[in-house]
Symmetry: C2
Subunit: 387 residues, 2 copies
């Protein structure tokens, strides 16, 4: 491990986000001199055995951590949320067309700005979109999730997939349930809560996540996909049906066939994922991580609730995110004072998203309980002093 | 700069490729603790001023190095060659449609496996492709380039762009001229020779290059694009004309409007680019780099030519690549012996591409003259000893 040091930051940015210092120190070593090769892992061909090992090891750790059954594949692509939006729509329509001979619809739950963006991108590409629930229309804002029983029910004969965002990073809304449909597979965006808790993979047709919040640096996206969703009609037939052809770099069947190495994968970025996952396994895997995340967010929410006359929590209790805790105060001046004093106390990255304002504390996997406690104490003290 | 060390490798891999040790040492530092912030540059939001500075600085260095005129924009996207193939086709068709109201063709020069792949991808997506020259058909293999006067001439009324690959990494063929057409802009893949020499940017409608050969790690692609090629028809009209809509993450007008930050750019990977370019400027910019590259490749070609009875150079003299020097020997056994002894002499990454076999020495910008000379001496000695 390298000797590059830093004082532990208490950094609560929403992403790209804090990573464990020991992971970055090891990554720094691997960047310059990987396993004594006098070459960095990023300078080696992606066809080299050492690079392939990095991909295989990382994949295997996902399988281990999530207990991924044989029914599903794990793959890595470049891109992030936006390439997920487009690639899920076009790949899953192409699969539905293979199964039914038809151009299906994409059905969406809109519960925050990220799922809204997914809809926007699907429509740009020419996908027929059906919206099953839209929190903004139901509640006036993205602060709650409509009970599942009240959602519009999609027709399995016409619907290629249902899409939802499991954790809305900007609005701080997290699903407390997994929407399930007879005869339609569900695709979930877990960019900001991947590996934050145990889940039953068999309930998902597809899960995707950009690495840069919970598990690594920007530039790699993880896909977990059910094997029945892989096969597709040939491109010429897709075009005839009016289904947009997926660019080859995001074509799931090709990526799976080539072990995520059809085109050049950024192997150094995958290696950071590999190191993050190794640490997660060493530290007790998902059962322990889930408990740590519960403790971190409960502590902060409790303090915020204790000062309900001072802090405003816009998100309904039942759908509060464990990852992104959004709160506001009665004036922008007070919020500015909070940010300034927090920074003086070495607590940073707390400004809310430009579209919603206020404050946001992201308590991703890598945020230590010590950092979370320092923040909770500061939140408590600031309320007491400024009421 | 970090204290992570390595012995200088003499690594001639074709990409991802060797980077200067001092660049990687600085990058290692920036990965863990950027400018004393106790945070790595990859952990900071891409909306943070520090991240935006990295993008702006890197862009500015490209402008300085290539003397890029005001008529052109520089942008960075994720992806690599394959996303270049798709995004160039769909973006430039959408621009042609804006200018003419028509679905234009893409005209291609096929001079090696990379330009052949570009054609393949365009056809997958439903682009009407016209091939202007195909070396394999003319010469039986990708070992020469047809004189420009003999190329098919595209019709500017129907042609959105002409595409060619300036340096074919696999086959070791580099263009000694820039193809130019009245009324049609040229798009060039310079993935493996970007910034290797001075060029006149005004002759290009578009240049693109994956970073991982000459200027950085995999995961970022550089685009230099003429402003007249940016504007596009709205998506609904494109779909009516049968033009594939570009996924938003690769939509040039959006990327330019958002300073390459519409979606999350891998800032750490851009920072490596920034460091590579800073070193290039410090070391005399392109005039000096061009001379170094000339000396490195001339020296090796001279030795290979001296032993023309022992080494076979498949590529015609006039189109030999300065970056990727391809040669074979009379038997696979002898080539294996060469590779083994080269490795013993600490000269690695010399195996030819799996599709063509033989040997390949990639003498990218970062390869020092010292490394190139050690290789040339070994090549000389091996011939003398094994004739």
């Amino acid at each position: 491990m390298s000797s590059i040091t830093r004082e532990e930051p208490n950094y609560f940015g929403a992403g790209p986000a804090y990573l464990p210092t020991e992971v970055l120190q090891q990554a720094a070593q691997d960047l310059v001199n990987y396993h004594g090769a006098n070459l960095g892992i990023g300078e080696i061909s992606h066809r080299d055995k050492r690079a392939i090992n990095v991909v295989d090891e990382t994949k295997q750790k996902f399988i281990e951590l999530y207990n991924i059954p044989d029914t599903h594949e794990v793959l890595f692509l470049q891109g992030g949320g936006h390439t997920g939006f487009s690639s899920i729509a076009t790949n899953l329509l192409a699969n539905f067309a293979k199964r039914t001979g038809k151009k299906g619809k994409g059905a969406y739950a809109v519960t925050g700005s990220w799922s809204a963006k997914a809809v926007e991108e699907a429509q740009r590409l020419g996908v027929d979109v059906e919206v099953l629930t839209n929190s903004k229309e139901v509640f006036g804002s993205y602060t709650d999730i409509q009970p599942f029983s009240e959602w519009k029910k999609p027709n399995p004969e016409e619907t290629a997939y249902v899409y939802y965002c499991d954790n809305e990073t900007v609005h701080g809304v997290e699903f407390p349930f997994i929407p399930q449909f007879d005869g339609i597979e569900v695709a979930a965006d877990m960019s900001s809560n991947i590996l934050s808790k145990q889940i039953d993979i068999s309930k998902f047709g597809l899960i995707f996540a950009g690495a840069q919040k919970n598990v690594g640096l920007a530039g790699v996206t993880i896909y977990i996909i059910k094997k029945t969703l892989i096969e597709q009609l040939p491109e010429a037939e897709l075009r005839e049906l009016g289904i947009p052809v997926t660019p080859i770099a995001f074509h799931y069947p090709t990526a799976i066939k080539q072990n995520s190495l059809h085109n050049t994968l950024p192997i150094f970025t995958v290696q950071i994922l590999n190191l993050v996952l190794a640490k997660l396994i060493k530290d007790g895997s998902l059962p322990e991580q889930e408990k740590r995340n519960d403790r971190k967010s409960s502590q902060l929410y409790q303090i915020l609730d204790k000062h309900a006359d001072f802090y405003n929590l816009p998100v309904a209790k039942g759908v509060r995110s464990e990852m992104n805790i959004v709160f506001t105060m009665k004036s922008p001046e007070l919020e500015a004072k909070f940010l300034k004093e927090a920074e003086q106390a070495n607590l940073t990255g707390l400004k809310g998203h430009r579209s919603v304002g206020g404050l946001r504390a992201s308590l991703y996997n890598a945020i230590t309980e010590k950092s979370a406690t320092l923040l909770a104490e500061f939140v408590d003290k600031f309320a007491t002093e400024n009421k």
